[in-house]
Symmetry: C2
């Protein structure tokens, strides 16, 4: 699962992408529009500023704006940033590899083999999608069994 904080981070960045090149957006505007607790959002945005994804303007008429073009911010990068890794096990991370506790040697671990493959599939998808993508909120559900789920 993505943490609540990661979810807030992504929605805040999406909001800034929506207002790219329209001047700076105040924290309160983001908090209200995206339904994020104000104080918590200060923590999140300060981190994004430190990472360089967001530029802040202090003082009166201050606010935030994206530090990069939306097309240059990939969802994969956002998740790596807030969560350290895309992988579902520590041992399957390409960027922040760690041994799993109480595991077998990695060269024998079949779970790791599976998780590496899965990680790569996830990365492919999350790295080809950026803040510039439209993302239809109601994508069709293609049931692998053949039918189409009308419930969404």
């Amino acid at each position: 699962m993505l943490s609540q904080k990661t979810r807030y981070t992504i929605r805040a960045l999406q909001h800034l992408a929506d207002h790219y090149r329209q001047g700076s957006v105040r924290l309160d505007a983001i908090a209200t529009a995206q339904n994020i607790p104000r104080k918590f959002l200060t923590v999140i945005l300060s981190e994004l500023v430190r990472e360089g994804l967001v530029i802040s303007h202090r003082g009166r008429d201050g606010g935030y704006e994206l530090g990069l073009q939306p097309v240059d911010i990939r969802y994969g990068d956002i998740i790596r940033l807030t969560r350290g890794s895309l992988a579902l096990t520590p041992c399957a991370s390409r960027n922040a590899h760690e041994h799993c506790a109480n595991c077998l040697p990695e060269s024998e671990c079949r779970l790791r083999a599976l998780m590496l493959t899965l990680r790569d599939e996830m990365a492919t998808m999350l790295d080809r999608t950026t803040l510039a993508d439209r993302l239809d909120p109601e994508p069709a559900f293609i049931d692998p069994a053949g039918g189409i789920d009308p419930a969404g």
Copy 2:
């Protein structure tokens, strides 16, 4: 991330699959071979018995065995069982859908749109892999940028 408990669960099931139709395997044998704390493993196996994936035999010469053929136990199902869902957000679960706290209406949430698509890709992969699959522990890493990573 998968929890430690989910990782233990998968490795325990893999172990039972390796000994399918070879009689029952004692808890201690699994704990030793798979490096799982004995007491914790009792909790895990009892749950698997309750769910019907594993059959237990009590008393002398007791132990555990798989309740289904390895080919009928999909990794997707194991993860759904221990974790409730494959999805990375509560709102993107097909089986255990819940609204995310402090979110937008789901019909407007672009993060949800992305997470639904990702969930479906993950499900496709995890549901076509079963305990009967061999899973090479050293799969080649095809770098999307073009090269092949020799480090694995």
